[in-house]
Symmetry: C2
Subunit: 202 residues, 2 copies
Amino acid sequence: MSDVTDISAKDVKALRDLTGAGMMDCKKALTETSGDVDAAVTWLREKGIAGAAKLAGREATEGTVQSYIHANGKIGALVEIDCNTDFVARNEDFVAFARDIALHVTAAQPLYVTEDEVPEDARAEELRIAASQLDNVPEHARERAAQGKVNKWLEEVVLLKQRHVNEDKYGGKTIEELRAELSAKTGENVVIKRFSRFAIGA
Amino acid sequence: MSDVTDISAKDVKALRDLTGAGMMDCKKALTETSGDVDAAVTWLREKGIAGAAKLAGREATEGTVQSYIHANGKIGALVEIDCNTDFVARNEDFVAFARDIALHVTAAQPLYVTEDEVPEDARAEELRIAASQLDNVPEHARERAAQGKVNKWLEEVVLLKQRHVNEDKYGGKTIEELRAELSAKTGENVVIKRFSRFAIGA
């Protein structure tokens, strides 16, 4: 039997801020999880009460900086992955995720984190090149074909659209899919903020 | 007694290319070092025959990428340090130097590697601010005083002009001094090519 009186108003407020769920739901969640706020977030998410929308809107001001240096010392990457709380930032899974992203960046050479970051002129140039390669495509199908080529290019250069290079571990999932999974698991907004990749002679 | 006939024309040519020293000096250096080209470079440098100028002119196309992540996972840096040969790039001292530069960058927050990289407008803005703070300085001394303030600012933001944060280990030497020492020790052109520094919330 849970004792409702153990639940502090402060925890209820924190949980409401974290999830956007109503007061009664938050009290119930905390009761079910013996007052553990993080577990209560998960409980609310599992019940579909705490929406991902609310989580996505929370500012990601905590996080971790991690790196990967290839064994030969010729290539390496630095990444910053943000989340909402220091608690999650220090979580083993979160740090491991950040390191795996650094490894991925080292190998997969993305140019941008998100599609939004792709400069308009780079995209226009890619579209121009794509269009110039469609002489054998019927006139009416060219626009769609060119856009298809540009989408393929975006999947190569945008980190979130790339499939993680470690196929054995991640089964061909995209970085965005892995990010979303970690977000659901931690109940926090996980943001791949930035990366830097250096290679000798490049 | 050294045997001069052991010295190959190929090694003499390599040594001349490496150091810019004359043929007779190179033969003598190789004789003194039993034909060891790397030792001969050091010998020539020690004798003041191989100029640093020549070394500095050699293209630094090899190197190492190293990183430092602070224990709290909130700050980290990635650096690329270049040299002339893969042999030196894999050298323990060289890699340790690169890691110590990454640690330094993490702590000291430089903005540029060299003074040449400081944008003209950033320098002009700094000079303008400095000039505005000299009301108590006599008119004729103001230009020099303002320049002094700018130089002080450069020592704060230019990596090569900063003193290494590990004073116990490096005794207050600047990064440029440490770079030059490593260059002399390895007989190669050591170039701090670039760095990247991430901090959570910055």
